[in-house]
């Protein structure tokens, strides 16, 4: 299981490199914000440990509730802020995107 997970880890790293290699400057900030939202995935960790935990002490539970709250802030805040930023690139008619750059 560990080796399979390590393989996934390494491959995911290469995917990350490949996806980002070509980005117009304009999108750097939204992209940072978008990747920022995605690492809000730590929310899952909080849910798993709290949901499956047995005999957690009060302190542990408190810490996990905070962790889940943190993760939720990261996720919802991250995606909302990215969306707000990106929505500013919309609604400018044909000028909104550079000519001839058909995206995949």
């Amino acid at each position: 299981m560990l080796l399979a997970n390590l393989a996934i880890l390494v491959l995911a790293g290469f995917v990350g490199f490949a996806v980002i290699s070509k980005v117009p400057n304009t999108l750097h900030t939204p992209l940072m914000s978008g990747t920022n939202a995605i690492h809000g995935i730590v929310l899952l960790g909080g849910i798993v440990v709290l949901g499956l935990g047995h005999d957690l002490s009060v302190l542990s539970k408190l810490l996990l509730v905070i962790a889940i709250a943190f993760g939720t802030i990261n996720v919802v805040g991250g995606f909302l802020v990215t969306d707000r930023m990106l929505s500013m690139f919309k609604g400018k008619g044909p000028a909104g995107a550079p000519k001839g750059t058909e995206q995949r």
């Binding site: 990350g16 490199f17 900030t29 995935i41 730590v42 509730v65 990215t82 690139f89």
Partner: protein, 464 residues
């Protein structure tokens, strides 16, 4: 912790495919909005899948955490001004790292110091604890600096900084090793977290304003890595993939930004801004004087120019002047003036910061010129209008090897026939360095709030 059942795993695969697909969309202007939405859907699927794991309990507490997070996160994301976006991203990033650190702490508590856990769980958890804690506290400092709660100037121990950082790092690692050798005392994990926190504070505090975007991006990548480590410890593929993608893409983005400033990431992290300490004054400028101009003169100068290049910076963002600038540009265009915008990669507080603001003000995409594209044009430019940009126009970066920003690519504003600088006062920029551009014979200063200044220029233009 056992691996989740097949159904959950399959949903995880769907979720991280959506992350990757969404991220691919985020790299193009046309598909970006949809890309973000797709990634968000992926996140929703991942959360639902996690809740489907058999044996889930503590529902009330989970709901409590999610509700608190939503109540705090949604309004702040909705209400934050576009200009304050960078610090918001820093804050959202920080809490992610904080979550990883807290999870690692609880893992320590519930496994009795990782007794009977495989070695990789211990290593991954402690890695998450250290990196998550660094990211949390480092991001808080970045937030404080950008929000101007803390001085934007480098705060450092001078020559003692690096030995001190090293010492704290060793202390954090020592605590972690203590746990690895079978230490059960809770003080060990708390010590690991606290020393890592101190390291986060001490690394980011000495870093000056201009390097802040790079730091936020670096912390973003670190949080991604810590999330991936937590995923390894919990055998959660969604976390491994999502965390690692962010770690990898964040590193690339960090590198792109550092390159744009001709700075190396190790130099930024190790040295604060320039080795020479805080407010390096640059070359002695003697008692040169600046030439002040009026809105009327500026208006006339621009109205009869062939080409005007607007150089926006953080000052435009603070004054929320982007719409006013756009209005001014339209008036100039009606008079037959060519208007372009010169965007330095790190103008403002984040790469692309200016693009976002100008896009908000409906400035046509083709008028936004990146540095390499516009630098050849300044010699043909009649008026360069610098709106609250400072360090990115400072010729010292080219001419003065002693300057802390020497070597950073700049916009060659000083090559244009005349320069008008809109500025609140003669205060130095975020990096705390004098700008010789202001003392040039070709430069005229128009003091005041950027928005108010541009508005009075508009009045004068209408009256012409």
């Amino acid at each position: 912790m056992n691996a989740p059942p097949a159904l959950v795993q399959i949903l995880y695969i769907v979720a991280f495919s959506l992350f990757i697909y969404g991220l691919m969309g985020l790299t193009g202007p046309k598909t970006a909005v949809r890309g973000n939405l797709i990634a968000a859907v992926g996140m929703a699927i991942a959360v639902v899948a996690t809740l489907l794991i058999p044996g889930m309990g503590n529902w009330l507490l989970i709901a409590l955490g999610v509700i608190i997070g939503t109540l705090l996160g949604v309004p702040s994301a909705r209400q934050v001004k576009m200009t304050a976006m960078p610090q918001m991203v820093a804050l959202f990033n920080g809490v992610g790292g904080g979550a990883v650190a807290l999870i690692a702490w609880v893992e320590f508590r519930s496994t009795g110091g990782f007794t009977d856990e495989p070695g990789y769980v211990l290593i991954a958890s402690l890695f998450g604890a250290i990196v998550g804690s660094i990211s949390f506290w480092g991001s808080l400092v970045a937030y404080g600096k950008l929000q101007e709660l803390i001085s934007g100037r480098p705060i450092s121990l001078g020559r003692l900084q690096q030995p001190a950082n090293l010492l704290v790092l060793v202390a954090a690692l020592a605590c972690a090793v203590g746990i690895g050798l079978g230490g059960h005392s809770e003080w060990l994990i708390v010590g690991t977290l606290v020393f890592a926190a101190a390291l986060g504070l001490m690394v980011v505090l000495p870093i000056g304003g201009a390097d802040m975007p790079v730091v936020i991006s670096l912390l973003n990548a670190l949080t991604g890595l810590s999330a991936a480590a937590a995923g390894l410890a919990l055998q959660n593929t969604a976390m491994i993939v999502a965390g690692m993608i962010v770690g990898a893409s964040g590193s690339i983005l960090t590198n792109l930004m550092a390159k744009a400033m001709n700075r190396s990431i190790p130099a930024i992290v190790a040295g604060g801004f320039g080795g020479g300490g805080g407010a390096a004054p640059g070359r002695d400028l003697g008692d040169k004087t600046v030439r002040e101009t009026s809105a009327a003169d500026a208006a006339i100068q621009m109205a009869y120019a062939g080409q005007v290049v607007v150089v926006p910076g953080y000052g435009m963002a603070v004054a929320q002047a982007q719409h006013t600038v756009r209005d001014m540009a339209r008036l100039l265009e009606d008079k037959g003036v060519d208007v372009k915008y010169a965007i330095h990669p790190v103008a403002g507080r984040m790469p692309g910061h200016m693009n976002v603001l100008l896009a908000e003000a409906d400035v046509p995409y083709e008028q936004l010129k990146e540095m390499d594209e516009i630098n050849g044009e300044f010699a043909r430019t009649d008026v360069a209008l610098v709106i609250g940009a400072n360090d990115v126009t400072n010729p010292a970066a080219r001419n003065d090897p002693g300057s802390p920003i020497h070597g950073m690519p700049i916009l060659n504003v000083d090559e244009s026939r005349s320069v008008i600088v809109l500025k609140r006062s003669m205060n130095t920029g975020f990096a705390g360095i004098e700008n010789e551009l202001y003392y040039s014979d070709r430069t005229a200063m128009l003091f005041g709030d950027a928005k108010a200044s541009v508005e009075s220029v508009i009045e004068e233009l209408k009256a012409l």
